[in-house]
């Protein structure tokens, strides 16, 4: 199967600050994320992983370059349209504080749809809920859910609107390894069984090995790639990068 690109970054640079205090968080980065694939972004702390994700997801403005999501050039979008793009075409899973405390799990899952006044595909939503095993937790509020359950709700929310791409920034960073692996399996399943596209930032080789492909970042530049990784391969590769 020929996999078109769900998201493309072309020559993206991001500079924070001015003059002496200038930080080049992204330096002329070009990268493509294929549809239907699970990609991990790795790199040392401060290498620009989060910045890349924020720029590609339309959460932050880049200094230079262009990004397309589902063939839409996001640099040209006004705030309102960019917001709608995030709502309809992008799913998000953050490290923590993913859920609106006043809404139930069900409402949180449907949040992007509800904000768009969009019923969504009920069959799909039920499938997502079943996949992440949340059937009997739907009426609970976030404060009544465990950390793992909260992240599962977040994953379900990211999937609910059938987005073109899902960005996850260290989604298991705050979880113990068993719960973390559970979440990663769900994400794997979402790609394999539901045909979703996921880009995940992580610094854990084990987590990264769930992905189809790993993109390495160092000092704001692409430092290399690895296909079909295993934890051992990842560790080896990182050693070679001088990490």
């Amino acid at each position: 199967m020929n996999n078109p690109s769900a998201a493309t970054a072309t020559n993206v640079s991001k500079i924070y600050g001015h003059g002496d205090s200038e930080v080049r968080a992204l330096d002329n980065v070009s990268v493509q994320f294929e549809t239907g694939k699970f990609t991990a972004i790795m790199g040392p702390s401060g290498s620009g992983k989060s910045t890349l994700m924020h720029c590609m997801a339309g959460l932050d403005e880049m200094t230079q370059g262009s990004v397309t999501i589902a063939d839409i050039d996001i640099a040209s979008l006004k705030d309102k349209d960019l917001t709608k793009l995030r709502r309809d075409k992008i799913g998000f899973v953050f490290q923590s504080f993913n859920l609106v405390p006043t809404l139930t799990a069900d409402e949180n899952i449907r949040l992007p749809l509800l904000l768009g006044n969009n019923k969504g595909n009920e069959e799909w939503i039920q499938k997502v809920i079943n996949t992440v095993h949340l059937q009997d937790r739907l009426t609970h509020r976030p404060s009544e859910l465990s950390g793992g359950q909260q992240q599962r709700v977040a994953v379900a929310r990211a999937l609910a609107s059938e987005p073109a791409i899902i960005f996850a920034d260290e989604p298991t960073g705050n979880l113990d390894s068993t719960t973390g692996n559970e979440i990663l399996s769900f994400m794997r399943k979402a790609v394999d069984e539901l045909g979703q596209t996921i880009v995940m930032v992580t610094h854990d080789p084990v987590s990264a090995s769930y992905a189809d492909r790993i993109v390495f970042l160092k000092d704001g530049k692409i430092a290399g790639e690895l296909l079909n990784p295993t934890p051992e391969l990842v560790l080896d590769y990182m050693k070679n990068l001088g990490h």
Binding site: K84, F92, V100, T102, L115
Partner: protein, 846 residues
């Protein structure tokens, strides 16, 4: 610790500004009203010391009737005293003065000024005199029966120039004069917005009062005697049979100033009462802001505790902060208040009430009061939150979020219910016979109970009120609804100022509605005619009695009768008598005679109300001694008893009673019954013509008249609403501050929502609806309490003749609409702030 506290304040300027804002508003009303009252007082003091500057002695009658509401009716003195005083050695010049009703009719046929509602309209004497109150600024004083002088303001307002014809209405009718001069009073164009028409002495006596009488005599000495000696000399020269007294210029100045002072003090008390209510409402806002900011600093405080600060030290740090905020806020409030009082003066000027110029008076008492009260209120409001902050466990420093812990204790519920039960019991006790004075306590209990229960009822009520928002706005509505219910303590504290304001407004509206209904009922029962002529002149001037006589002669009219009011002394006390014309009253105005006939009412008889007869064991044939304003004593026989005393009061007499006295009487209303078959159109035409001839009074159909009477209460209502508006402003600011702090606290949540696709306009919608729900919460509970309070007040006034309670439906609806609008307006700035939340800062965890 002091340095930490200070750093805490300066480190967060925004919080300082928000907290101070509540203090500033509350104290600015306090200082504003104090400065305004003091300025007004000083202004009038100056005016009258100016006016009597060259008056050395002042002669007037000792015969005076003091009636209710500070009204005073002093007898006139014979004009021959003027010449007598002039002969006294040491007197250089004298002027007789008259203060009477006179109304200037504009070129368009309409009287100048608004009838009755505005400042009084006077007629008097203007002549060349060393100590004259009036100085001519253009032309000359009037001489002869066809000339008049007007005050500058009136001349300007009526666009009158010298030699113009001016129509003036007085007690004796209306007449046309030639304008020969324009005068000013002291250094103002006219005092306090009153209008003046000035004549020569003879014309004034004959046109304004009664020939041969004047009100008082102003004397200017030749300098050979001191003021005291002069007064003594004049006093000795006037035979005691004239019953006069002679005051020095200083005495009359002081007396006038005191009288004005008393009149103004009522106004001052009213203003300061409402500014204290506003401050009380403001204290809720201050308390709320301190609570929220203490909660938001929970981690900080816990950290201080963890590194070894004691509970006391944490509490003290917050208390120091409150002292700084209190001082800072009150000081700014003081200056803001001075600005406010300037605005008030400008407002009066715009309403063409020309106050003599003279700088603002900022009494030191106002300064001290504002600062001290502001400081006390602030520190007291911060006390509970500060103590709570001290109790934060050091462990809380490790916790992630710093959201106010909400524990609704059972104790609170029980205590609140207990207070309400106590209040209800007290009120029930009063309705079953206990003294009215307990009502206040009962009301206080119910209010405190409701405020205590606030956090308990806030959640369910907010959820209920938020239902429509959810229906209308989908998930943004859901979030607004949940946000308003997520922190019931905060929501109820934010809604409390709205609640108090709304409860007071509703109670006043309920009282007014009940009074209106009552008045409506009374007039419907007693007024049997088709048309009425009304005047607003209360106690000063009115309709000439000959108006009713004129109308009676019209072929279209079956019968017309005038009803007036007379001030007399009975048993040494001032009393009002209703005057009627027994020949025409029957069938037009019904006082519900139960014994006697109208024919029995003559100059020697009196009717009394049934209630009076019962209370005083009076019966037909008993006699009453009545002292008229000119000191004549009349012995009147009770010749009839009537039932309807709402309008007629305790005593009713014939207008013939004063026929041979110097007392002047006006009709306050003329009631007209048409001949059958006369069309409204033709009736209106002829009646209006009759009214126009006098230039006084307003012709109204029966319905219009009754509506006007029952609507008269609305004027008072307007004033009270205006004053309560102060509290509303504070309530709105309270909502704004709380929303801002909530938005600040929920930054991450808002950032998350923005990330997953909430548009800016949806963010605004959420904040707006939360605000509306909070505001409506206060309004709904406030209306419930207010209606209850209104009922209690109406009940307490049952002896004053209020018999039925009406729910103010219209005002209630307006209040709800207003609460909605207030919610929307209060949300504007916080909603805008919410859209400015930095998305990335919110989702990237520190």
């Amino acid at each position: 610790m002091f340095r930490i506290a200070l750093k805490g304040i300066l480190g967060r300027k925004a919080r300082l500004v928000l907290t101070s804002l509540a203090v500033i508003l509350g104290t600015s009303f306090l200082s504003g009203t104090a400065v305004f009252s003091a300025t007004l007082n000083r202004t009038f003091d100056n005016l009258f010391s100016d006016v009597f500057r060259n008056v050395d002695s002042y002669v007037r009658s000792t015969q005076v009737i003091e009636a209710d509401f500070g009204a005073e009716e002093r007898q006139r003195i014979p004009v021959e005293l003027v010449d007598m005083v002039k002969q006294v050695p040491g007197v250089a010049d004298v002027q007789a003065d008259i203060q009477a009703f006179a109304r200037i009719i504009g070129k368009d046929g309409q009287p100048l000024g608004s009838e009755g509602a505005g400042p009084p309209t006077f007629g008097g004497v203007g002549q060349e005199f060393k100590g004259a109150l009036w100085t001519i600024s253009e032309g000359r004083f009037a001489a002869g029966p066809t000339e008049v002088v007007l005050d500058e303001s009136s001349a300007k307002a009526g666009k009158f120039a010298l030699n113009d014809k001016v129509k003036v209405v007085a007690q004796t009718g209306s007449r046309e004069f030639t304008l020969v001069g324009i005068a000013s009073y002291g250094d103002v164009r006219s005092p306090g917005g009153a209008t003046f028409a000035l004549f020569d002495l003879a014309t004034a006596q004959e046109f304004l009062a009664k020939p041969g009488f004047v009100d008082d005599i102003l004397v200017s000495g030749d300098g050979t005697l001191s003021d005291e000696e002069l007064a003594k000399a004049i006093s000795a020269a006037i035979p005691s049979s004239y019953k006069t007294e002679t005051l020095t210029g200083a005495q009359i100045t002081k007396e006038t100033q005191d009288q004005i002072g008393t009149a103004l003090s009522f106004f001052s008390i009213l203003l300061s009462t409402f500014s204290y209510i506003a401050l009380g409402v403001g204290s809720f806002v201050i308390y709320n802001v301190f609570s929220i900011s203490a909660a938001q600093r929970q981690r900080e405080n816990a950290l201080l505790r963890a590194i070894g600060a004691s509970k006391k030290q944490v509490t003290r740090a917050l208390m120091i902060e409150s002292v700084v905020v209190g001082l800072f806020g009150s000081t700014i409030g003081l200056f803001a208040g001075i600005g406010l009082s300037k605005a008030l003066s400008a407002l009066l000027k715009a309403a063409s009430i020309d106050l003599p110029s003279g700088g603002l008076v900022v009494p030191s008492s106002a300064i001290i009061n504002t600062i001290v009260v502001g400081l006390i209120v602030t520190v007291a409001s911060a006390w509970l939150p500060a103590r709570r902050a001290g109790r934060v466990p050091p462990l809380a420093a490790m916790r992630e979020t710093a959201i106010e812990v909400v524990a609704l204790s059972r104790r609170r519920t029980l205590f609140g219910l207990l207070l309400i039960a106590l209040g209800a019991a007290t009120i029930i006790a009063v309705t079953s016979g206990a003294s009215n004075k307990w009502l206040g306590l009962g009301i206080l209990f119910v209010f405190s109970g409701t405020i205590t229960l606030g956090p308990v009822i806030a959640r369910p009520v907010a959820l209920l009120l938020g239902k429509p928002a959810e229906k209308l706005r989908g998930v943004t509505g859901t979030m607004a609804r949940q946000n308003s219910a997520r922190n019931p303590k905060r929501t109820s504290r934010t809604a409390a100022p709205v609640l108090i304001g709304v409860a007071l407004v509703t109670a006043v509206a309920a009282l007014a509605a009940s009074i209106s209904t009552q008045i409506d009922g009374v007039f419907t029962q007693q007024f049997k005619g088709d048309y009425a002529i009304s005047t607003n002149a209360r106690g000063f001037g009115g309709l000439s009695p000959s108006l009713a006589d004129d109308i009676n002669t019209l072929p279209e009219v079956e019968r017309a009768t005038g009803i007036g009011l007379l001030t007399v002394k009975i048993d040494g006390k001032g009393q009002y008598l209703t005057t009627i014309n027994p020949a025409t009253v029957d069938g037009v105005f019904d006082i519900g005679l139960t014994s006697g006939t109208y024919a029995d009412l003559t100059a020697e008889t009196i009717f009394v109300s049934q209630k009076y007869a019962e209370n005083n064991k009076a019966k037909l044939g008993d006699t009453l001694q009545v002292t008229l304003a000119d000191a004549q004593v009349k012995t009147l026989t009770i010749a009839g008893i009537y039932e309807f005393d709402d309008i007629a009061g305790k005593y009713t007499v014939s207008r013939d009673l004063i026929k041979d006295s110097t007392v002047i009487n006006f009709d306050l209303g003329v009631y007209i019954k048409l001949k059958s078959g006369v069309s409204d159109q033709s009736a209106r035409t002829v009646l209006q013509a009759a009214v126009d001839k006098y230039g006084q009074g307003t012709l109204l159909s029966k319905r219009e008249y009754i509506d006007k009477q029952s609507g008269s209460i609305n004027q008072l209502l307007g004033l009270i609403y205006g004053l309560l508006f102060l509290s509303v402003i504070i309530a709105v600011v309270g909502i704004i501050i709380t929303l801002l702090l909530s938005v600040f606290e929920r930054q991450r949540e808002i950032g998350l929502l923005r990330a997953v696709g909430m548009t800016k306009s949806q963010v605004r919608t959420t904040v707006r609806w939360e605000s509306v729900i909070t505001s409506l919460l206060g309004a709904v509970v406030g209306i419930v309490l207010g209606v209850g309070l209104g009922w209690v007040i109406v009940y307490a006034l049952r002896d004053q003749g209020l018999s039925s309670f009406s729910v103010p439906v219209g005002p209630t609806v307006s209040i709800l609409v207003m609460a909605f609008v207030i919610g929307v307006l209060a949300a504007v700035y916080p909603a805008w702030r919410a859209t400015r939340v930095n998305l990335l800062a919110a989702i990237t965890t520190a």
